[in-house]
Structure formats: C-alpha cells, structure tokens
Symmetry: none
Subunit: 233 residues, 2 copies
DNA sequence: TAGTGGTCTAGACCACGGT
DNA sequence: CCGTGGTCTAGACCACTAG
C-alpha cells in the first residue's frame, strides 16, 4: 500500500512497487499488468497519478503501452539518446539513473612537446546489473590543468572538476563522427557482436577564451542512440 | 494559437510552437520562457496540458526546469548542420565543384495510408573522374508536394524545388546517426572495402509550420567526414 | 459493446527561490 | 511575501481493440 503522508510522491511509491513486481517476476515478459483504472482503485489514487508512474517506467523501458489493449511488461534494452558531450553524469542523474565510471587506463604522456594526462574510462549505468554505454578517452593538458591527474575520476565528473577547481568553463566543441568496427575491448565491455559496427565521436573542447581544454574520443555502445535536432535554412 | 478541434493533441501543438520559438531564437540560451501559468492563460488551456508539452521538451533536452525559478532554455544547439543536409548542391557550387546526381531508384509508395515519392540518388562531384560521396534516400509526401515526382532530380535540387515550386521552407531537422556495414551497392558506388563500416544519417525535415516535408536517409562515403561544432555548458 | 489507454479540464495544496 | 514549478484530485470525453 501507499503512504499518503510520506515525503516521497505517490507516483514514485507506486513506480517502485511496480518495478519491484516486474523485476521479481510477478508479471512476466509481454504480460499485461493491471489496468490504470484497476491500479487507481487498488491504491486509492487517481488515474493521473497512476499514469505518471507508468509513464516513467515506460521511459525506463520496463513497460510498453498499447492503446486499447493494455500495458505490457517490456524488458527491452534501453536506448539512451545522447546528443551531447558535457553532461553525461548530469544527463543520467536527471533520469534517476546511477552513473558509473570504471577507469581502464591512466597515463602521463607527451604529444608534440606538450604534457597530457590520458585517462580511459568505461561509463554506464547501474541498474540491476552494470550496463556500460560509452568508452571515453580523454587527453587533458597538464600545463592548463596542473594536478588534474591527482583526481579519482571513477567517482567524479571531469567537467565539474574543471569548472570548480580551475574555474574554466567549457564552451565550443568541435567534433567528428566516425564508424568503426568493434574490437576485443568493446566486445568485452559492451557485450556486443564483433560484426556490429560502432560509433566513435572524436572532439576537441575549447574554453570560452579559446583554449583547448580537452581532446576526447567516445565509443558508443550499440544500445545508445546518437540523436540531435538542428535547423536548415 | 492552438486549434482545439485539430486531431493533433493540444500539448503537441504547444510543444511544436515552443520548440520552434526556441530553435528560431525567440528565447535565447539560459533565458526564461513564460511560466506555466502564463502559457496556460495565453493559450487558454490548463496547466496540466502546458506541463505535458514542457515535460516532453525537457526530455528532448531543449528546456530545463528549476523549482521556484522557472523554465530555462537549455539548448546544446548544433551550429553547423551537416554539410549536405539541405545544401548539398549549393555547398558544392560555392566550392567550385560540379555536383552530380544519379537516380538509382524511383517509386511511388504508400506508408500508413500516406502516399510518398521515394527517390534514391547517388551524389557526388565531377573532377577528373566521378566521385560519389553519398547515397540519399528521400521520402516526399505527395499530399503536401503534389507532382514532385514529375521532376528530374538528377539535375535539380530537391530543396530548391520545394522552396520555389511549393513555397515551403525547410526548418527544423531531427536526425540520428548510425553506423552500418557496407553492402553490394555501397561497394559498387563508393568503391570501398566491404569490411569498412559506414555512417548512416537518418532524419526528418520539418517546415516552419511544423509539417513533415521529407524523411531522408544518407549513407556517407568513407571519404566524407561528418563534422560539426556545438556547445556544452 | 465493454474495457483499455489518450487527452483534457478546473480546481487544490505544497515546496522552493528571491524580494 | 509572491511567483515559480511539483504533486494530486475527481471528474469528463475520445480512440482504439477485441469479443
């Protein structure tokens, strides 16, 4: 039952109950869950509130609605629309996901006489299991960001660290999109078929003063969609 | 204003209006849009309906809500659209190249009760030899663009024809980028290795009145770079 | 025809942010 | 304090699906 005096909104409480029921197997894949009307009576809340709970679970990819038929369990792979760079952590937090980073490599290296901190991370979400969504390789110039290599970026956001500790704000990004074949590492991390081509986005992030803050290469999991909106004239 | 008798839901109509206002620059980055109450009064609909429109735009990443403050434009706008979206012919002309189009397929077909003119073209440049850069598949709705199938698009630009003959101006474009493997056709046209993955951009072009003008799928040659500039905040 | 989800109204009270 | 967004109620009518 729901607690109407709880700080937690009713739709969230219901959402949690439904999610647990689904994950516990009370409702099986492609099975109907109770109708909106039934749920609103059972929990003594309005249909509007039930709909909000269900809408969120549809967004999360746990449920699927079919007009005139009902609401079905639909445990498909989640497709995340990622069309931006800077906000991976924030993007997932807004969706009530728990972002995860795993550091794969770290190195100080010199390119063309300039010293860089190179860090490779697998990034994803923690749900029932860990699902990795991207593999990010970053090159951060040590002259501009001294000591940046002393951070633990398995828990912190690189962008927030640059903003807070160095008072540098990322601005323009130049990026290119390239197709690539998977390799041993991507197969291991994304658990995809070796034949599946992947997307690789390479970019340079500049501060508003025009300084090069970061060079980055992002390999996207096949489960991620790369979408955007723009204009032509 | 909104049309309460339209088949299109009110929240969608409002959503479209707000989206266009944002993309056209009526509201600038980090600027407040009118409050939910103001919008509900202006368009004579309830706050619930306004909220649904805004919620969708927040999901799309065009808006950001802040409790107690208001709703802000939060747009990571792509400044430079893909170089051949909407401007392939003009783009090449400006570079003193000779654009070439070869029609591969043409067909009138019906999708979900709507009639479309489907045209597949290989597009490229004529230098010493012909070099094809993209394979474009366009679906043009015949109810909106009657007689569009009577043109010879091996010499004319689809966009210019739409602008001049139908007085419709392309505006927003929603697009997704996907990696794909080559096939017999791409190998023949681009003369690439079958193992090479390619980029496929799929998009929908809308007019400024929100009508769907074209669905398009573009396969890029390995010789083409897909680049753009954007911003993070 | 009965039941489902899809949309919408006209209210209400609350929590948050800035004055 | 007032205006903002966040939640919720108790209805209503519609469009779709299936028996």
């Amino acid at each position: 039952m729901l607690n109407k005096n709880d700080i937690i909104p009713l739709y969230m409480q219901l959402q949690r109950i439904l999610k647990e029921d689904i994950l516990k197997g009370k409702y099986l894949q492609d099975e109907l869950i109770p109708s909106e009307t039934q749920l609103s009576k059972k929990y003594d809340i309005t249909r509007t509130t039930v709909r909000k709970a269900i809408a969120n679970l549809v967004d999360e990819g746990l449920l699927r609605r079919e007009h005139g038929k009902g609401t079905f369990v639909s445990l498909r792979q989640v497709n995340y629309s990622i069309w931006n760079f800077g906000g991976f952590t924030d993007f997932l937090r807004k969706k009530n996901k728990s972002p995860i980073s795993k550091v794969l490599e770290e190195e100080i290296m010199t390119i063309k006489g300039r010293s860089y901190y190179k860090i490779v991370r697998a990034r994803g979400v923690m749900e029932d299991a860990i699902e990795f969504l991207t593999i990010d390789t970053s090159f951060l110039p040590l002259d501009l960001l001294p000591g940046i290599d002393q951070n633990d970026f398995s828990t912190k956001s690189i962008y927030n660290t640059i903003k807070k500790d160095y008072q540098i704000t990322p601005g323009n990004v130049e990026l290119g999109v390239y197709p690539m074949m998977g390799n041993e590492r991507t197969v291991e991390i994304f658990d995809h078929d070796l034949q599946t081509p992947l997307l690789n986005v390479k970019g340079t992030v500049f501060s508003d003063t025009g300084q090069e803050i970061e060079k980055v290469s992002i390999i996207y999991s096949p489960n991620v969609e790369f979408k955007m909106t723009t204009r032509v004239d």
